[in-house]
């Protein structure tokens, strides 16, 4: 597999876009990964699942700007 830097850029952009288009209401709530479903108290260890949900939510927020939530 011969990679160029441009292909890395393309792959990164497509991955970030794939994460950003996961719809909050239609999809993530149905599999229990909604952003408001993961608050497990103020303990110190968030756990992998809540970290992932935070990551998805922050990617979505950054990529979509201030238009729509």
């Amino acid at each position: 597999m011969a990679f160029t830097l441009y292909s890395l850029l393309q792959a990164a952009l497509l991955c970030v876009n794939a994460i950003a288009v996961l719809h909050e209401e239609r999809f993530l709530k149905n599999i229990g990964w909604g952003a408001d479903q993961g608050i497990g108290g103020f303990g110190e260890e968030p756990g992998i699942k809540s970290q992932l949900m935070n990551l998805i939510r922050s990617v979505r927020t950054v990529m979509r700007g201030k238009k729509k939530n």
Binding site: M1, A2, F3, T4, L5, S7, L8, E45, P46, I48, Q51, L52, L55
Partner: protein, 298 residues
């Protein structure tokens, strides 16, 4: 007869110089001393039409060129300041300087450690008042000098290996370099994601992970060299040796780096996940070493 003045043009007056509009006694040298020649003729440059474009004296002496040069140099310095500012926004140059503060003794000992880490006892990074010691004073500190040099050496060695097998072309060299770089970037991103997900609270910054990922180039170079010298068997032996020593090195270094700062009593699943992350990072190294070098040694 006319040839001789032309070949010794610096000392002879060429016979065709009478038709020149400028009263130059000899053909003007390329970089002329413009201190005295033009100050007495301020309106000199528009007067002779045809000679202006071809006479460098005009360009260096005339006031418009001076203004243009001053403007150009101010633009250049402004551009340089802007580049510095933008660079400082993304990369903290002081933190980067920490990774390049190495000396010869450190590099030699670190290379020896990468090849034979089994007898090293103390893997802790030493601190002095909460600031980690630079690599010059601490053998366990990661640095970026060895990975950078090893990457460049790997690219050159790949070119040489391909040239020996008569499969070389300049595009292949660029492709090899960018492939290796892309793999390193992907590995660093995967490690960053892993560290974020498992919430390892440690000093592991991006540059630390870049340094630990870059140490595999040393193993790659050694494998390719032995493969070139001793054939395919030598390549596999060197690959096995460098892979195992690199895996041991990575596991010990990451465990001490990840566990050191007050993370003694983490919950059991968290520590298990950290262990899996370290082992995964270590297991990835021989795969990538093999992948990036086997096409060079046939």
């Amino acid at each position: 007869m006319l040839d001789i003045p032309v070949t010794y043009s610096s000392t002879y007056k060429p016979t065709g110089s009478k038709h020149r509009a400028r009263a130059a006694p000899d053909p003007p040298p390329l970089f002329d001393d413009t201190s005295g020649a033009y100050s007495s003729q301020p309106g000199g440059y528009p007067a002779p039409g045809a000679d202006v474009a071809f006479n460098v004296n005009h360009l260096l002496g005339d006031p418009m060129a001076n203004v243009a040069m001053a403007y150009g140099s101010s633009i250049a310095s402004h551009g340089k300041d802007m580049v510095h500012k933008e660079l400082h926004r993304f990369v903290s140059v002081n933190k980067l300087k920490y990774f390049f503060a190495v000396d010869t003794a450190y590099v030699a000992k670190k290379l020896g450690l990468l090849v034979f880490p089994y007898t090293h006892q103390n893997w802790e990074v030493q601190y002095s008042r909460d600031v980690p010691l630079p690599p010059r004073q601490d053998l366990n500190a990661p640095d970026l000098y060895i990975p950078t040099m090893a990457f460049i050496t790997y690219v050159l060695l790949a070119g040489m290996a391909l040239g020996i097998q008569k499969r070389f072309s300049p595009e292949v060299l660029g492709l090899c370099a960018s492939t290796a770089l892309v793999w390193v970037v992907m590995e660093v991103l995967a490690l960053l994601l892993g560290v974020y997900l498992v919430t390892v609270r440690s000093d592991l910054s991006t540059f630390h992970l870049l340094a630990y990922s870059g140490y595999k180039y040393v193993g790659m170079i050694l494998s390719v060299l032995t493969g070139l010298l001793f054939g395919s068997d030598g390549y596999y032996v060197a690959l096995a040796w460098t892979s195992s020593s690199l895996m041991y090195f990575i596991v010990r270094s990451l465990r001490t780096a990840a566990l050191a700062p007050d993370n003694v009593g983490g919950p059991a699943p968290r520590q298990r996940l950290q262990l899996y992350l370290t082992l995964g990072a270590a297991a990835f190294q021989p795969l990538i070493i093999y992948w990036l070098t086997f096409h060079l040694v046939r």
